[in-house]
């Protein structure tokens, strides 16, 4: 049996080329400027781990802001979309299809197209430079995909479970809290991942609505971070890597859901 070395070599070359910029970032993040000037290509001793603490000092507020925004958005999105998904999947009432179509139609509205009017609205509400201005668009966007995913998932839960609970005297609220929510944990996790990914990649909205350094999220903060550290490449790349850690960790441990999230955000995929 051949070991398929040719194919493996070709794939290894592709892997190396794909990862090269990130590997270069990793090795350079451990250098001081002298090492960077003298040994541009290869890693050299000693490793300057202090680049990471220097970088952390600067990006900490950005990370905190991103975590706060992501956490608040996740809680709100799940609260809204779990209730709506449950009602839409398990109750029949006049207008049910209409409401669902009104929600699902928003999948086709790109967030970039409401950027300008939404910005003006937030300025009128005097919400610029606050947490709500960062959180609201993520919630407004996330509940759409959230509701669709939840509804689809809840429809797949066997009706017998609900019937059995009803016979035992459970009401709508009890059904929701004791049966549906625990069963929906996988889809809750997917929605949370999509939201985190969205917060870490959102760029124009925080760029335009936030001018206070303390409130900048990671994606925008890194731009200003670059300006502050000037030509100190080590701490700069260390900062980029630290900012990537949350997504890298999620990718490593939850890659299946991560990929589902990437594909789930597409129009027409449900």
């Amino acid at each position: 049996m051949s070991r398929q070395w040719g194919i493996k070599t070709a794939l290894s070359v592709l892997v190396f080329v794909s990862l090269f910029p990130y590997l270069f970032m990793l090795t350079t993040s451990l250098k001081d400027n002298l090492q960077f000037a003298e040994n541009y290509w290869v890693p050299t001793l000693p490793f300057h781990w202090e680049n990471y603490s220097a970088a952390w000092e600067q990006i900490r507020p950005y990370m905190v802001a991103s975590v706060v925004v992501a956490a608040a958005a996740i809680v709100l999105i799940i609260a809204f979309s779990l209730v709506a998904g449950f009602v839409l999947a398990r109750y029949s009432f006049p207008g049910r299809t209409f409401f669902f179509v009104m929600i699902a139609a928003l999948m086709m509205v790109p967030s970039i197209s409401s950027l300008i009017p939404l910005f003006v609205m937030m300025r009128d509400f005097e919400l610029l430079n606050t947490y709500p201005v960062l959180i609201i668009p993520h919630v407004a966007g996330g509940v759409v995909i959230g509701t669709i995913l939840m509804k689809t998932f809840i429809e797949g839960i066997p009706q017998e479970l609900f019937d059995a609970a009803r016979v035992d005297g459970a009401g709508g609220v009890r059904l929701f809290l004791s049966i549906m929510t625990p069963l929906s944990l996988p889809v809750i996790g997917t929605v949370a991942l999509i939201t985190i990914n969205g917060v870490w990649n959102d760029f124009f909205w925080p760029l335009l609505t936030i001018t206070e350094n303390e409130l900048r999220t990671v994606s925008v903060g890194l731009l200003f971070f670059q300006g502050q550290s000037g030509t100190e490449y080590g701490p700069m790349f260390a900062g980029y890597l630290l900012a990537s850690v949350p997504l890298l960790v999620l990718f490593t441990f939850l890659s299946k859901y991560f990929l589902a999230g990437v594909q789930g955000g597409l129009p027409g995929s449900h």
């Binding site: 086709m108 509205v109 300008i116």
Partner: protein, 320 residues
């Protein structure tokens, strides 16, 4: 999706009491009440801004001050806006290049499914898509470092192999800036096209490949006669998604080139933002935004239509 008929809802089977209609009405009200918070959020932060943007595209919009209705003036201005149309030409290049670049993920996916060891397949697949896990901004910043005129990897590498005369100010020169943007993320494997190509090829039943091999069909011929036709639906879908994705293209250009030099990398999203935030011309920005919105909406509708008419589109086994 949609209507799961046969999932009887609401009325509890245990107690089908007299006065059923009354109970049903009560449940309806509870349902509306439960949906209310979501509907308020969507009305306020999705429907209102989107509609307001369309309405304001017909106004000389001065938020907080006096706005005047100007009819189609903004649209007339758009028709004459050379930068706006140039930005669409750039989008055209970005789109065509993007589609052509699928060759590399396609080859990578073909190589990958040829591996016999499942474990090796998993390792290579994971390594190939690692760049997807980095925030887009980090990728943009790392690549703008790659293009740095003095310390950048590309110019340093050219110097190191004696091709110093080939070094360029990649993102600062109008004749190279767009090319530099296009090559960000080379070799373009970490992305949706690769994932879709790979999962499609994986889902093709092994027996088909074995039968083809028995009939003496070579690797190249198999690609053209079996793999590609079985992927046609996915390629069509990817194609539409790429159109929509390209229309939203913006933040890479903002970070790496800011649309410059000399508007050579201007894209519609950046033009819209510049008009609004630097020009303070909100009505005209709303016009540009509405135009982009309409383009995207039409194309999204096409995507949904294609997928609907095509229930097996993500599962090739469904073909059998």
């Amino acid at each position: 999706m949609a209507t799961t008929a046969g999932t009887p809802v609401a009325a509890p089977p245990a107690e089908a009491p007299p006065g059923g209609p009354r109970r049903r009405a009560r449940i309806s009200w509870a349902a509306y009440l439960a949906l209310l918070p979501l509907l308020v959020v969507l009305a306020l932060f999705q429907y209102y801004p989107a509609l307001n943007g369309i309405v304001r595209s017909f106004w000389d919009w001065n938020p907080g001050q006096v706005s005047t209705f100007v009819g189609l003036d903004n649209y007339a201005k758009m028709m004459d806006d050379a930068i706006w149309w140039r930005s669409f030409r750039n989008l055209g290049y970005i789109f065509v290049f993007g589609v052509v670049s699928w060759v590399i993920p396609l080859v990578a996916a073909e190589l990958l499914i040829t591996l016999r060891s499942q474990r090796a397949q998993f390792v290579y697949r994971t390594l190939l898509i690692v760049p997807m896990a980095f925030p887009g901004v980090v990728t943009a910043l790392v690549w703008s470092f790659m293009y740095h005129p003095n310390n950048g990897v590309i110019n340093r590498a050219l110097t190191a192999i004696g091709l110093e005369s080939w070094t360029q100010n990649w993102v600062g020169d109008p004749s190279y800036a767009l090319w530099s943007l296009l090559f960000i993320g080379f070799p373009f494997i970490a992305g949706l096209p690769f994932l879709i190509f790979y999962s499609t090829l994986q889902n093709i039943p092994r027996e088909i490949f074995e039968a083809a091999a028995l009939d003496g069909v070579g690797r190249i011929r198999r690609f053209w006669t079996i793999d590609l036709p079985l992927m046609a639906r996915q390629v069509r879908l990817l194609f539409f998604l790429a159109v929509i994705g390209t229309l939203q293209y913006g933040f890479m250009a903002y970070i790496v080139t800011s649309g410059g030099p000399d508007n050579s990398t201007m894209v519609p999203v950046l033009r819209m933002i510049n008009v609004a935030f630097q020009g303070q011309d909100w009505g005209y920005a709303a016009t540009l935004s509405t135009t982009l919105f309409v383009f995207t909406l039409v194309l999204s509708a096409v995507v949904v239509f294609v997928r609907r008419s095509d229930p097996a589109s993500t599962n090739v086994r469904g073909l059998r």
